[in-house]
Symmetry: C2
Amino acid sequence: METLRERKKQRTREALLRAALELFTTRGYEGTTVDDIAETVDVSQRTFFRYFAGKEEAALAVQEMTVNRFVESVRERPPHEAPLEALRQAVLDGWDTLNEVVESVVPVELYLRMFRVIESTPVLLAAHLRRSEEVEEVLARVLAEREGVDMDTDPRPRLTVAVFGGVMRVTERQWTTGEDFSLRAMRDLTVSHLEQLGPALTGSWRTDTSGHPYTET
Amino acid sequence: METLRERKKQRTREALLRAALELFTTRGYEGTTVDDIAETVDVSQRTFFRYFAGKEEAALAVQEMTVNRFVESVRERPPHEAPLEALRQAVLDGWDTLNEVVESVVPVELYLRMFRVIESTPVLLAAHLRRSEEVEEVLARVLAEREGVDMDTDPRPRLTVAVFGGVMRVTERQWTTGEDFSLRAMRDLTVSHLEQLGPALTGSWRTDTSGHPYTET
DNA sequence: GAGGCTAATGACAGCCACTGACAATTGACA
DNA sequence: TGTCAATTGTCAGTGGCTGTCATTAGCCTC
């Protein structure tokens, strides 16, 4: 961002993004038109579409940043860590350093509100899930390389990442709909759910192994 | 479907669905307009929207049937089966009896082609994934009830279903992009992937436990 | 620092998915 | 058979999104 032109572009994009998130989190995603966003920033609708492929992309732009950061984080994990452990550490690290990544673009508080909007807006949730699947493919490749296995013949990389992704989606869902919507809560939920993964998969739950007696009723 | 009116409605819906899938699988989803579909069946565009909430719904209608069948199948599993085992049996049963369920509406061959279209069309894949998440919520509830645990305090039902769902998505993806696109292949892949689940999650893969030596390179 | 070059924007027209409203039609049923 | 209700068609309109072309505005050279 050296020239004036580039700085101007940067500012326009940022303004559009900020306006979009602000409107989405107040009027709702469906309740906001692209014209609304463009008008807020005082550019033409056409210009909006030159910065974002669509309404969706604007809504998910910040998430995209954090996800990319997460993938990089996995890449940089020490090779001695087991696959699931590398994913776990990378995710936790992501939540711990969320502030630095997000705040440079939009207030974290806005990011968090947007998280809930995504989770509660069907079309956005769908796009988010599809994107997650794409990311899982990349992660599987990273893990396969780390462990020196061939993804084309060995299903374990994809399976591991899919399992991990499944746990994370459950976590996100519970987090966004729960009462404690803080980063700390997200971190704790992540740890807790990953710990529960083993017990959940081992046979019947009637033999209590998790501190959740089924006799409570 | 007793009266003439009801029969006519049934036929219109079926014709629309068939026409939609036929067009989607030949011209592609994006390459097909709702007007195309309506015109093929010789009804107005408005009528199409009276039968389907949107293009998406038409594209996913048959999948919806099989998914609902799957959920029912899980509900009817004998209570002594462990959660994962119940899900496994229900899925395999679903593939084994797919013909009977699907053929009553559209040719199975059309259903299979549509499966690939869904997997390769971003917006359809997204919708499919979102729907899967909804189903997972239902399944978690079924499992929780079976096992007598409280879903609100015990994350294991949701975790188990999410893990299972993750495995199934990996399976679907490999199936639709692989060379052997037969029901038999889907069944085998499902069994194989579920078997690999354990090995995939237990620590490092460098200690070979799966018949996939990493020394192939 | 004037003028040419190129990138960014605006204005406009148009496509497609989808919806509301109302009129026309057609099966149901007394 | 005539009335009632459900089904459908028509029309108008909104919103997301794209292509096109003229206009503007930063950039760079002479």
